[in-house]
Symmetry: C2
Subunit: 215 residues, 2 copies
DNA sequence: CTGGATGGATAGCGGCACTCTCTACTATCT
DNA sequence: AGATAGTAGAGAGTGCCGCTATCCATCCAG
């Protein structure tokens, strides 16, 4: 197919597709003439992935490029690749880290049987966690860390479901892509469902109002 | 205190504080002269809240204004106020909604005993959920909806912990603020912990590598 | 009295994600 | 064969957002 059809089938405007091509988010099509190229279903799939990363995952163009680079690497171990992807889809957070928050994270790791000393700033994920706890402290919620264990309890259930899903619905070829999509879309789904759960609890405790939070 | 000290204590540059004042994110200080104003700890607290919403919650300035407006309303019922805040901190997502995804959401509600017909597009929260499932479908993950029940199971534990936390650590005065902070910071914490759980699972299943995902 | 900070207001900047425009073609329809 | 529409590629332009810089008339501490 040519770029016009790619645009029609994906809903992405032609100039935007050209922009993504320039930015290296999409591989170039096969040139059949100096000004004619063919694109296939793989391009369409990749384009939809890009849109999902941007729209649902909230990633920047540069972030998408990082993720795709990790997805496309073939010579690393799967575990390392997953780690790289996770780093790419995790924003560390910008503020200063409260040392107490760092301690909270370390204590959390130790409670989980993590004996070796963890450098919190070494990974985007742990940095994100510490920076969130830091922010909580800065607005007066010193005890937020007490929630960590409960969160982990709930998230173990969720992570297990994620693993089963990936194992069931993806071959080893696209397991990385499934993890990316599942993680980012899952984040959004989790946000939404958590809000629904809050609304339900608030309705039970405070009464009144319909189930959905639009009033 | 004057603006310089407010800046020093919060780490926010003076021009930025002025900008927030202009945008109505911070209430004006008490003028003691035509060009002298005093700020108190309440301003500091509010400023830190704004930074937390921006940095950790990823809200835009306009979004912060909406949230603060909901936080500051005193004449509505607590339940409605919570709903308003939830709407303010939930981005609906931009793409087209797949009708099948809408059906998935409705089926989910029905499984949860929600008998009345829910208009998915009426609330940012349900719209967010539908749009995430939509995005999943568009990249070929039609079965993502199967995760919803497991997610809810995990999130019930988390929502319960959230409720206990709010009940324990906040008076009725700042219960709304606690919900906002807890929801947004909680979102980030949940993201991070879920990634840690994934890393742990991946390490167990795929072997190799250290616990933290930086490698 | 004086040097640095302040309130208030307006203008400017840098980054990002497109979007527009242009040229030189090519494909297709009639 | 001619008219019309589409295309690759590349640079410039656009609009928004979140600050940041500059200015001026004070004001206040030392």
């Amino acid at each position: 197919m040519r770029v016009g059809e790619l645009s029609k089938r994906s809903g992405v405007p032609v100039p935007t597709i050209k922009y993504y091509l320039r930015e290296g988010l999409l591989p170039a099509g096969v040139l059949t003439s100096p000004n004619q190229a063919h694109y296939d279903d793989e391009h369409l799939r990749r384009l939809r992935l890009v849109r999902a990363l941007v729209d649902v995952g909230g990633l920047s163009i540069a972030g998408v490029r990082d993720v795709l680079a990790a997805v496309d690497t073939h010579d690393e171990s799967l575990h390392n690749k997953l780690g790289a992807v996770q780093e790419a889809i995790s924003h560390p957070g910008s503020g200063e880290l409260d040392p107490l928050a760092v301690e909270d994270v370390q204590a959390f790791f130790e409670r989980q049987g993590e004996t070796e000393c963890v450098d919190v700033t070494e990974s985007n994920v742990t940095h994100m966690l510490a920076s969130a706890l830091s922010a909580a402290r800065s607005v007066g919620h010193d005890q937020f860390r007490d929630l960590l264990d409960s969160y982990l309890e709930g998230l173990k259930i969720i992570a297990q479901a994620d693993l089963d899903y990936v194992a069931r619905h993806s071959s080893s070829d696209d397991i990385i892509e499934a993890m990316v999509v599942g993680t980012l879309i899952g984040d959004t789904v989790i946000k939404a469902v958590r809000r629904l759960a809050h609304a339900q609890v608030s309705r039970e405790v405070l009464g009144g109002g319909p189930a959905d939070p639009a009033s």
